[in-house]
C-alpha cells in the first residue's frame, strides 16, 4: 500500500479546519509555538469531539519554581485527566519546563504516602488520623508544660500557599516559640 492508498484513514481536504488552532495562534502572537497558515482540512465531527466529555478546565499555578507558570488542569468526574497548555498566561506563555509539564504526575504518582504512619520499634505501622494527631498533640503538650515551648522546632515550607504559611507562623507563635523557619534560608 502506497502513500495515496490510505484513503480510509486520510482526512478529507477542505477549507473549514483548525479554527480553534487559529484562535490559539493569534492569541499568542508572533511567538506562538504553532503556525497553521495554509494547512487546511475538514475537521470531522469525530475529531472535534472532546476526548474527555464533560471535563472542566481549572486554572492553577505550577508548584515547581518561583516563576509562577500557569497550569490548566482538565478534570473529569473529579479526576485530573490531563494537563492543558496555558498559552495565554502572561508570564509563562504556555511554556513549561519538564517539572511543570509533569505536574499531574505529582498528584497521581504511585509512590505517594497514602495513610498516616508511625515508626514503632523500628517498624512502620499504619494508624488513623485521630490516633496520630492525639499522640503528637500529647507529646507537644507535655513538652510545653515540662521543658517549655522552645523544645519544639517548626520547619515550614515554601511550597505551602500564603495562607498555610501564615497559619504555620501563627501556630508557632501560639505554641509559644520563635523556632520556626523555612527554605528561604538554604
Amino acid at each position: 500500500m502506497g502513500i495515496n492508498e490510505f484513503d480510509a484513514l486520510k482526512p478529507k481536504v477542505g477549507r473549514r479546519s483548525f479554527l480553534k488552532m487559529t484562535a490559539i495562534a493569534t492569541a499568542a502572537g508572533a511567538t506562538a509555538a504553532f503556525a497553521n497558515e495554509g494547512v487546511t482540512r475538514e475537521a470531522t465531527e469525530e475529531e472535534v469531539k472532546n476526548p474527555f466529555p464533560g471535563s472542566q478546565k481549572v486554572k492553577t499555578v505550577c508548584t515547581a519554581c518561583s516563576v509562577g507558570c500557569g497550569i490548566i488542569a482538565e478534570v473529569q468526574n473529579g479526576v485530573w485527566v490531563r494537563q492543558e497548555v496555558a498559552q495565554d498566561h502572561p508570564i509563562s506563555l504556555g511554556g513549561h519546563c519538564c517539572k511543570g509539564a509533569d505536574m499531574i504526575d505529582m498528584v497521581r504518582s504511585e509512590v505517594r504516602l497514602k495513610q498516616p504512619m508511625v515508626k514503632e520499634k523500628g517498624q512502620w505501622k499504619r494508624l488513623t488520623w485521630d490516633d496520630a494527631l492525639d499522640r503528637i498533640a500529647n507529646k507537644m503538650k507535655t513538652a510545653h508544660e515540662t521543658v517549655g515551648p522552645d523544645s519544639a522546632m517548626f520547619l515550614g515550607s515554601a511550597k505551602m500557599c500564603n495562607e498555610q504559611a501564615y497559619y504555620f507562623r501563627k501556630f508557632a507563635a501560639m505554641y509559644g516559640t520563635n523556632n520556626i523557619d523555612h527554605q528561604a534560608r538554604i
Binding site: M1, L9, F34, R41, V48, R82, V85, C98, A101
Partner: protein, 202 residues
C-alpha cells in the same frame, strides 16, 4: 502556499536550553512507558564555551519519509497535511524504520516474545493513529489526538522558551524570519516601519 502545506517541527537552537519540557510533556501527555522517549533533547559540545548547543529531536515527519519506504508491512501512512503516522496493528516490530530513520525517532519496547522488539512507537505530532479519532483504543495505543481537538502538539505548546516550533513550513519560516528581523529593535516596537528604518533609536 497551497492547501497542501506540510506540517513540520523546527527547533531554534539559539533558544533551546535543554529544559526537557518537551520530552516530559510528551511522555506525560501520552502516558508513555518510561523506556519510550518519543522526543528527546540532546546537547552537543557540552561545557565548551561558544560551542554548546541543545536540540529537541523527535520524528520530523519527513516529506520522503524513509521509514515509510522501507516498512515491509506498509504500516506507515502520510496524512494530507504531511504528518507521518503508523498503524500499530500492522507493525511487526522489525525496526527497519529505525534503520532508515535519520533521527532515531522510532522506539521499540523490548516486550515481544523472548525479548524481541515489540510494536514501534514514535511521535505522532499528537495526531493519534488510524483508530477512530479520540476513541479509547486510539488513546491507549497512540496517546492523545490533540490535532483533532484543534490543539497544538503538546511539546511545542509547552516549550519553555518557544524554541520548538510546529506548524506548516511557511508559517514556521515566517516566525523565524520575524525573530531574525526584529533583532535589535526592542520588545515593544514593531519589527517593520519608519521608526526603525535607520537602526534602533534610543
Amino acid at each position: 502556499m497551497g492547501e497542501y502545506a506540510r506540517m513540520n517541527f523546527f527547533c531554534d537552537e539559539r533558544r533551546c536550553i535543554k529544559c526537557d519540557g518537551c520530552s516530559v510533556a510528551c511522555a506525560e501527555a501520552h502516558e508513555l512507558p518510561d523506556y519510550i522517549s518519543r522526543r528527546k533533547v540532546i546537547t552537543m559540545h557540552e561545557g565548551i564555551e561558544n560551542m554548546e548547543y541543545s536540540l529537541s529531536i523527535a520524528c520530523m515527519h519527513c516529506t520522503d519519509a524513509p521509514c515509510q519506504q522501507v516498512c515491509p508491512v506498509d504500516c506507515f501512512y502520510i496524512r494530507e497535511d504531511g504528518i507521518v503516522l503508523h498503524d500499530k496493528d500492522k507493525c511487526i516490530g522489525c525496526a527497519y524504520c529505525l534503520y532508515a530513520c535519520p533521527f532515531g525517532a522510532p522506539q521499540f519496547p523490548l516486550d515481544g516474545a523472548f525479548g524481541t522488539k515489540g510494536v514501534m512507537d514514535k511521535c505522532t505530532m499528537c495526531a493519534g493513529g488510524p483508530e477512530e479519532t479520540n476513541s479509547h483504543a486510539e488513546r491507549e495505543l497512540y496517546g492523545q489526538n490533540r490535532i483533532s481537538e484543534g490543539k497544538v502538539p503538546v511539546c511545542a505548546a509547552m516549550c519553555s522558551t518557544k524554541a520548538l516550533l510546529v506548524g506548516d513550513s511557511a508559517s514556521i519560516s515566517d516566525i523565524y524570519r520575524e525573530r531574525v528581523l526584529s533583532a535589535g529593535h526592542g520588545v515593544t516596537k514593531q519589527p517593520y516601519g519608519w521608526d526603525v528604518a535607520y537602526g534602533n533609536k534610543k
